[in-house]
Amino acid sequence: MQYHPLIAFFVEQGVPVQTVLLLLMLPVIATLVAFFRQVIGIKAFGIYTPSIITFALLAFDPNGVKYGIAIFVSVIVVGMLARFVLKRFRLLYLPRVAITLSIISLAILIILVIGGMYQRTGLAAVSIFPLLIMITLAEKFVATQIEKGSRAAFILAVETLIISVIGYFLVSWHALTALILHFPWIILFTFLINFSLGKWTGLRVTEYFRFRKITRYL
C-alpha cells in the first residue's frame, strides 16, 4: 500500500501507522454519530460513548464484533439486573454506580474464566483496556436508567451498539482506510459535512415515522 507523503513522514518520525489511522478515523466516526443523530434520529449515549465503543470493538479484533457484542450485552444485562437488585436499598447515586461497576467487572471476570474453561481463550487474550471501556459504559447506562427509566436506557444502549458496530465496519473497511492513508486531506470533508449537519433543520427519519399517523390530516 502506498502512503501519502505526509503519512509516510509521520511514520518515519516513529508514530505507528495504526495510531495515525485511528486518529484520522476519529473525525469519521464522530461525523457518523452526528449524522445518525441529526438526520436519522438515532440518539445513542452522546458522541463519546459510541466512538469509544467503536474503538473498543476494533481492539477486540480479529473477532471484534462477536466478542464486542457479547461483552456489551453482558454489561447491559448485568447492569439491569444490578439495578433491579439494588433498587430496594435506595442507595445514593455514586455508591450505587460503584457497586454496579463492581458487579459488572466480577461478572466479566467470570465470563473470561468460563471462556477459558471451554478453551475459548480468544476473549481473555485481548487487552484489558477495551474491556474496561465496555465496563465503564455501565455508568452511562445507570445514569440514563435513573433519568429516563430502564426502557429508554435500554433503547439508547441498543442504539449505541448499532452505531458502534456500523462505525466498526466503516473503520475496518479496507477501501476507506486505504483512501485515508492515501489522501489524508479528505478527512477535512467531515468539517463540511458536520457544518451542514449543524445547520440542518429538516425532519429526522425517526420523526417522519413518529408523525406518520397525523401526516394525512395536515
Binding site: R90, L92, A143, I146, T201, R210, T215
Partner: protein, 510 residues
C-alpha cells in the same frame, strides 16, 4: 410519497426547533428561569401570576437534617428544583391515620398525632413512634414514610433527577386540587394545559391528562393523554395516548375526549403570554393547571417544549410558527385575539354566525339540572329519528325524580290494547293523572322498535352547547344503552347537526 414529504413540511422537528426557535429566541437568562422551578415561581409570583404556593425548600443535606417533617401539611408535592419530564416528583394526598387497634387507649386520633409529632424531634422514644407520625399516602394509595421522603430528598440533592446530575434543591409546594370537570377523565394527579407561545401569540395548546400508566403524571413520555385544543374556543378536539397512539375515549371508559370546554380559557392564554413577557423566553411552553379553588396557576415554564403537542392537535407547529413570525404584537389582548383567530375552528364559527344556530355533533355533552338544582353532565345521543327527548330511569332518580317515578309505577295502567285505541287511552290517562303529582307533566304511549311502552314525562332544564333548553323528557330504562339521554327533534330546533363533528379523526381512521 412526494405528497407525504410535502405535507410534513408543516411539522416542527427537533432540528428546526433547536436551531430556528430555541437558539435565537431563548436567551440564557430565560433558560435559567425555565430550568429552575423555584426562580420561575418567584418571578411569576412577583409579577402577579398565580403559582402553587411554596411550603419549604431544602437546599443541602444540613437543611435536611434540621427539617421538621411534622410541619408539613397533610397533602403536598415534593419536587426537584431542576427536574425535567416530571421525574422525581412525589405527590402526597394525606397523612396516614394511625391504625386503630395499634393504639386502642386513644379514643381520638388527633391528640395521638399531636403527641407523636411533638415528640418527634430528638426524643429517644419518638424513634419507635416515628414511623407512625411520618406516614403519608401517595397518589396510588401506597404509604410513604419520613425515611422514604428523606431518601428521596437526598437523591434530589445529589442531582439524580437534574440534567447531567448537578446537585439540586428539593422543595415542597401546595398540592393542587382537581377540578370537578376533569375528574372523570383523570387518573390521580392533576391535568395541565400546555400552551406554546411564540412572539406573544399562543400558537398551539393541549390538555394533558394523567393516566394509570403515567402513574398520575401529566407527561406524555410517561404515558399520559394529550388532547388537542381549539384555540378560539378552548374546546378539546383530537387526542393521543403516550407517544402517539390516536384515541377517542379515555382508555377503559366511554368518556369522549373531544368537546371538553376548558374553563378560564382566555385567562389561561393570558397567563401564558404574560409568562412569556416575564421570562423573556421567545419560544415558550407554559404549563398551566386549574386548581378547584384558585383557578388557573402556572406550574412551570419550558424553554424546550416537546413536539408531541403536534400529534395531539393533528397539526404542525412549523406552519403555525411561520404565520406568527414577524407580527408586531404590542399587547397581551392582541396576542390572544391573533392566536384565537389564526388557530381556532373558523369554519364552525362561520356557519354558526350565518345560520344563527349552533353546530353540534351526534354525541354531545348535556348538563341536566335536576329538581333541587343538582347538575349532572352526561353524554347524550343527538337523535333526529326520535321526536322527543328521553332520559334513563336511574339518571332521572339521581336528578330528584324518584318520587314521581315511584308514583307512576304504582299506577294501574291498562294493558293489551290495540294501536287504534292508544290515542283514546292516552287521553283518558292524561285526564285522570296529570296534576295528581306535581312533577308528572305528561303521560305518553310510545311505539318503538322494542314495542309499546307507557312513560311519564317530566319538565327538566338542560344546557346543550351553551344553549339553555327546557325539556319535556320521558323517562325510560336505558340500562343496556351506552347513552343515558337521547335528545329528540322537538328540542333541536336551535341546532345544526354535523355527523362528523365528534369523531372526525376516528371515522377517517376506521
Amino acid at each position: 410519497m412526494f405528497d407525504f414529504f410535502k405535507k410534513s413540511q408543516g411539522l416542527l422537528g427537533m432540528n428546526a426547533r433547536n436551531l430556528d426557535y430555541i437558539r435565537p429566541s431563548n436567551r440564557k437568562r430565560g433558560m435559567e428561569i425555565a430550568d429552575s422551578k423555584l426562580l420561575c415561581k418567584h418571578l411569576l409570583k412577583k409579577n402577579g401570576l398565580s403559582v402553587p404556593e411554596l411550603i419549604a425548600k431544602i437546599k443541602s443535606h444540613e437543611d435536611l437534617e434540621q427539617f421538621d417533617f411534622a410541619t408539613l401539611p397533610n397533602s403536598f408535592a415534593l419536587k426537584p428544583n431542576r427536574g425535567f419530564g416530571g421525574e422525581g416528583i412525589i405527590i402526597v394526598y394525606g397523612r396516614k391515620k394511625p391504625a386503630r387497634n395499634a393504639a386502642p387507649e386513644n379514643s381520638t386520633e388527633n391528640p395521638l398525632q399531636k403527641s407523636i409529632t411533638n415528640n418527634y424531634q430528638g426524643n429517644a422514644q419518638a424513634g419507635a413512634l416515628d414511623r407512625e407520625a411520618g406516614e403519608w399516602i401517595k397518589a396510588d394509595g401506597s404509604v410513604i414514610t419520613v425515611d422514604d421522603l428523606k431518601s428521596h430528598i437526598r437523591n434530589i440533592l445529589d442531582g439524580s433527577f437534574s440534567l447531567s446530575n448537578i446537585p439540586d434543591i428539593a422543595f415542597f409546594e401546595e398540592r393542587l386540587k382537581l377540578l370537578k370537570l376533569f375528574k372523570p377523565y383523570t387518573y390521580k394527579g392533576i391535568p395541565d394545559i400546555r400552551v406554546i407561545v411564540y412572539n406573544r401569540v399562543p400558537v398551539m395548546a393541549m390538555l394533558r391528562l394523567p393516566t394509570k400508566h403515567s402513574d398520575g403524571k401529566a407527561n406524555l413520555q410517561q404515558g399520559a393523554i394529550g388532547v388537542g385544543i381549539d384555540l378560539a374556543t378552548g374546546t378539546t378536539t383530537t387526542a393521543i395516548l403516550g407517544k402517539g397512539h390516536i384515541i377517542e375515549y379515555v382508555p377503559g371508559t366511554r368518556m369522549v375526549l373531544s368537546g371538553i370546554k376548558i374553563p378560564y380559557w382566555k385567562d389561561i392564554l393570558r397567563m401564558a403570554i404574560d409568562a412569556q413577557a416575564i421570562s423573556h423566553l421567545g419560544f415558550l411552553g407554559a404549563d398551566i393547571a386549574i386548581d378547584r379553588e384558585r383557578g388557573p396557576v402556572v406550574l412551570e415554564l419550558n424553554a424546550r417544549p416537546g413536539l408531541s403537542i403536534q400529534l395531539a392537535n393533528f397539526s404542525g407547529l412549523k406552519g403555525r410558527l411561520n404565520r406568527v413570525k414577524g407580527l408586531k404584537i404590542k399587547t397581551t389582548d392582541r396576542g390572544i385575539r391573533v392566536g384565537m383567530n389564526l388557530f381556532g375552528g373558523e369554519i364552525e364559527e362561520e356557519i354558526e354566525e350565518l345560520s344563527g344556530k349552533r353546530v353540534i355533533g351526534t354525541v354531545e355533552k348535556v348538563k341536566l339540572i335536576g329538581k333541587d338544582g343538582k347538575e349532572i353532565e352526561v353524554e347524550a345521543k343527538i337523535d333526529t329519528g326520535a321526536f322527543s327527548t328521553s332520559i334513563d330511569t336511574d339518571l332521572a332518580k339521581e336528578l330528584g325524580f324518584e318520587d314521581v317515578i315511584n308514583y307512576f309505577n304504582s299506577l294501574e295502567l291498562p294493558k293489551n290494547f290495540s294501536r287504534e285505541e292508544a290515542g283514546s287511552i292516552e287521553a283518558s290517562l292524561r285526564k285522570k293523572y296529570i296534576g295528581a303529582h306535581p312533577d308528572l307533566a305528561d303521560i305518553v304511549i310510545i311505539y318503538s322498535s322494542h314495542g309499546m311502552s307507557m312513560r311519564p314525562k317530566v319538565k327538566i332544564s338542560a344546557m346543550l352547547d351553551q344553549v339553555e333548553l327546557s325539556l319535556l323528557a320521558n323517562i325510560i330504562e336505558r340500562d343496556e344503552l351506552s347513552k343515558k339521554v337521547i335528545v329528540g327533534r322537538k328540542n333541536l330546533g336551535r341546532f345544526l347537526i354535523d355527523v362528523n363533528k365528534v369523531s372526525t379523526a376516528y371515522a377517517k381512521n376506521v
